[in-house]
Symmetry: C2
Subunit: 211 residues, 2 copies
Amino acid sequence: MKRNQLRLYLVTDRALAGGRDIEDIVRESVEGGATMVQLREKDIDTRDFIELALRLKKVLAPYGVPLIINDRVDVALASDADGVHIGQSDMPYAMARRILGPDKIIGLSVENFAQIEEANSLDVDYIGVSPVFATPTKTDTAAPFGLEGLRRAVEMSVHPTVAIGGMNASTAADVISTGTDGIAVVSAIVCAASPRKASEELLEIISKASS
Amino acid sequence: MKRNQLRLYLVTDRALAGGRDIEDIVRESVEGGATMVQLREKDIDTRDFIELALRLKKVLAPYGVPLIINDRVDVALASDADGVHIGQSDMPYAMARRILGPDKIIGLSVENFAQIEEANSLDVDYIGVSPVFATPTKTDTAAPFGLEGLRRAVEMSVHPTVAIGGMNASTAADVISTGTDGIAVVSAIVCAASPRKASEELLEIISKASS
């Protein structure tokens, strides 16, 4: 994984998609510049999850954009996705690495500074600093890092970082100015009238803020 | 897997356990004669699922009773369980076999005769004929096979069979008399005042009916 593939990281959310097809949202977002896609699904049959992952892989292949599966190492294996993103209540990192092998991307959510220190001792591919701001998308999250917390997290981490939680056109410039490698966006793309335009706009903000 | 390990197959259900510890129910049931245990969990964090599987493995090891994980190939890999049980909406069999390798047990639920024919062309270790009777434990099931349907399923199948759905002390003798290798029991053990005594009683009925 290249560090700049974290710049604009789309995380899917079927509930927020409001009946629109996840494939269409992903395609549009990638055409608009998204650099990585995480398929996040809860309450879905394993078979449907795998089939959706296989469909998204086909969508992403022409763009060279990696497909990351949230939580489910089995779905990542079955669909031969590019990797998994795991949280602190998912499979422990060492087990996931053993099962997936050295070549798959494994991202790890960290919710506090102790977890960043722990991640520093692991060969994870990136960490997701979560949440930076309070967000309605996930309600089971820890206290937000805030911009100063994110800046400190970026300094502490030996791994590339992506900022999660409350990422949108209003917050992106300040977030990128902390030095983080990218932003992980859910509702600002998934709920947008045009996921393509929303992605273009976010990527422009990111490019300006990081230049 | 030996065919007689299907004789009394316990399937866990946390909701039916009513706050009692799954580990205790499993230990008691195995002491009472259960020959195989399937850990079935929905709505549980992956990490908790893995930890519970690892605890059950320790409980079962001294008895040589296999631990089977429902649906989740990732949990089976992480915990090095003896195998998985998959349904028609779980990971397709060929994918599960490829990921788990030739030595793990893979059981497949079949809900009609066409699925039994399909299973005959696969190297599954056993099939679960489901449901034999209507049952309140699972509400998303197909039309029941009934005793005559089960008898036909047993004749058709090239694989060992275990009967699922409505298995208890009242039905076990008739079910075993169809020639099926065993019964998969949920509430008749999980909800019993003494899972040990319930298991002993069921095993006695099975032994008498199959002799």
